[in-house]
Amino acid sequence: MIDRLQQFFHRVTSIFRRKKLDHDLDAELASHLELAIEENLQRGLSPQEARRQALIRFGGKQQAIEQHRDARGLPGLEVLIQDLRYAVRALFKNPGFTIAVVITLALGIAVNATMFSLVSAFLLRRPVVHEPDRVVVVTSINPARGFLPDTNPVSAPNYFAWREANNVFSDISAADEDRTVSLTAAQGKPQALPAAAVSSNYFDVLGVAAHLGRTFSEGEDQPGRDHVVILSHELWQRRFGSNPSLIDSTIRLNRENYVVIGVVPASFRLLGFTPQVFTPLTLTVADRATSARKDHNLHVFARLKPGVTLEQARLEITNLARRSEQDFPETEKGWSAAVRTLPDFLVYNFGIRNGLALMMTAVGFVLLMACANVAGLLLARATGRQKELGIRIALGAGRLRIVRQLLTEGLLNALIGGSVALVLAYWGINFVATKMTFNEAISAVPLTLDRNVLLFVLGVSGFSAVLCSLAPALRASRTDINTVLKAESRAASAGRSHSRLRTVLVTCEIALAMFLLIGTGLLIRGLYVVEHQNLGFQPDHLLTAGINLDSARYKDAAQQISFVREIIPRLQHIPGAGTVAVTSDLPATGPGSVRVQIKGEADLSTNQARNARDEVVSADYFSAAEIPVLRGRTFTEMDSATSSPVVVVNQEFVHRHLRDQEPLGKQIRLDVTGPTPKWSEIVGVVANVKNYSEAPDEDPQVYEPFLQRPVSSFSIMIRTKADPNALASDLRSAIEQADADLPLLHVMGMPAVIDLQKGGDVLFARMLGVFALLALIFAAIGIYGLIAYSVGQRTHEIGIRVALGAGSKQVLRMVLLEGLKMTAIGAAIGLAASLPLPKVFAAMFTGLLFSEPRLYFIVPLAIIAVSMLATYIPARRAASVDPTIALRNS
């Protein structure tokens, strides 16, 4: 073993002592011959014969030297070094060519690396918990379709039932991730923070230990012992200066004292969940009641028993869900349950996979085009190098050796391209990271040039090296020495098959560019349509802020109502303020859906059930939002808890649920949480408002008066005469006067709210636009390169044509036609491929409209224009060929 190591060491060092060793060997072989000749002379041979015999006995000298070199060094490595040295020389010999190749590859790889950093950050980063694949998330499947219906949280009664009945989990915990707490630090202003209420074994199920202090212990989720809190690492750093003595001290949460018992590790972050504060989840008898079944608010995390598979757990939970459905058909009808592993659930629930897959496909195409261009360049150069390669083959270079050498060159090009790409990707990633801040869950995920991205760049570089140099290399290795060495350098026959392959490559590029441009065009058009749609209300000059009334001070409906009654006049007194209203959901921000029953109509089965979006609003909501009232009246101060329940519906409700019959006076019942709902009378009809600002759908909607069904979490809306943001500080102080401990959530103008809602889509479309543009540029470069090269090759032929009387116009037309043929074929293929795109997109982006027939004319025209321009430049050069020069050059 040690002998081998020693030998290996000698072999490696010998590569660097090559000169000395060769010199030594030469001397040794010379002395060998002298000794041999001398002996032969002594045997009486003539000097000539003595020398001849000695040489014969020695055998091939060069062979001996080669054998010696192979034995002492590492032949494979030496060939590689030789190839590399050769490749570097080739690189410097033709810097323009090298720069073109490197830049093309760098751009292609850089966009891929940038996109891949998103994949790495969102899809590949595994949650830092103990054995993440053994942790599962149990969710409910909502029978009413919608966005990701199978990721609904679970109701408390089901959580209890399944916790007690299952045999597949070693431990199970629940978390209400959707809470907000107001934190009042010493002398600070109150601050609203996203919070999670988790059962006491939550961290044990995940297998996460506290970074500082401890996690919850058993019994701390019981009322009376539940005033303990665990902070996120970020909050501890930001708000408490990473102070370790914070443990066991008391902080104010929702006006109550909580003891800080721990800080979670910085690495503990579940994609899509951004609680800053963890408090114990206290579940009471009320949470076991049948009425609590409508409240789907618990994310259930469980750890599989050893040996239990995901499939078994799925089967068991599905059965348990079916049992719930049988026992409580009233509330559970149609509901089912799903089980996913934690990593799988987080990615699925985040809903970013499709978008990323689409982007990666797009940049994959861009990379393919970059490779096609580089392959085209290499093929063009291969023609120039054919003679060189022919000579090398004639001198005994093996074909494998030639392929290997060309691949080494390609690899070197790709690695340099990859390094440049890393620099570009670093910028790209930083740029995307600054734009990816449209919501808390997205900005919580750090985008970096991490190890995955580095590996990816390395892999992609290698892949592109093979992709773009394999075709030229194989072709070169098939070089027929005789034809090559005999043929004239400008022989047309040598170039033809090369340019046929290049023509195919460029045609594919045009097809890809077409496909990408149409796809991007459709997306941008779809987004443009929703961006400029009439939302059904007036978002400008509307200031908004969120309020979350805590249960400590606002225990019941009466207190919530009196708070709203107190603040509305205060806000109206702000100078510059117009109408003021509160609402459970700001317009076009996706209010929740509830089941609706219409009096006098038979109870419909679940899949036919009537659904409507439900919003609780104060009296002046419609005038503040400027939503037109079409029939009847809206709410007044008289519609209070003591008067009979009333609702206002939208036009779509009348159309879809009442079949356009007279709506006023109809009684409907909303299947909302709380005590058995009452029948309410429809007193008015208002115009439709879009469900979401970023989608064109309008669902049936019901508005309930705040005074009759107050909610603890709502938004304030102030219609302003001028810039709404100017009133922000007045708004803050007005609320502070009413309740100094109540934090305001995101105070911003309504347009900003809408921008945040669709921020992702716009960024998405812009990025795709950049990729499609890059694709177009690559296609243009490809066609330019090919035509320019072909014109250069055919200078002689063109010269003859001109000499025989062809006019420059005819030559121009001939070359342009060549380009046009390729463009037309490529464009036709691309067009055909992009015909099904609207359907594909419609499936991926619910709600967006993707019919834009004009694109199918505009894009081909644009592509033809660009490629004609790219062809025209070399074509003009061809047309201006001077026959005397062209023919003399040969």
């Binding site: 002998d3 081998r4 020693q6 030998q7 000698h10 072999r11 030594d24 060997l25 001397a27 040794e28 072989l29 002395s31 060998h32 002298e34 000794l35 041999a36 001398e38 002996e39 006995r57 020695f58 055998g59 091939g60 000298k61 062979q63 001996a64 054998q67 010696h68 192979d70 034995a71 002492r72």
Partner: protein, 116 residues
Amino acid sequence: MTAAKLDLLQGTLDLMVLQTLTAMGPLHGYGIARRIEQVSGDKVFLNQGTIYASLVRLQQRGWISSEWGVSSNNRKAKFYSITKKGRKQLSEDAVNWQRLASVMSRVLGMQEGGEQ
């Protein structure tokens, strides 16, 4: 190439070189080649040049050492001598070779029908 001459099996030459150096003491490359030819009764087909690949291999493994010196007829030449490690290796390899050789001769001596 004469068919009667033996082609060298992989590794055989290394062993021959070690044995020659043990028997003859320090020798130069030509001397080793000549000696092997003589001992084999010119039955081994050996391009003398091939010996140098074997020599560099043995030297890298530390089984022989070399130094430049002067031959008996006053010519400059590189002399090789076996090291302690080389002797140990030789004794192991020699035993292996003899075992293999006797097995081979028995196998090749088998008569048709399985009887010896």
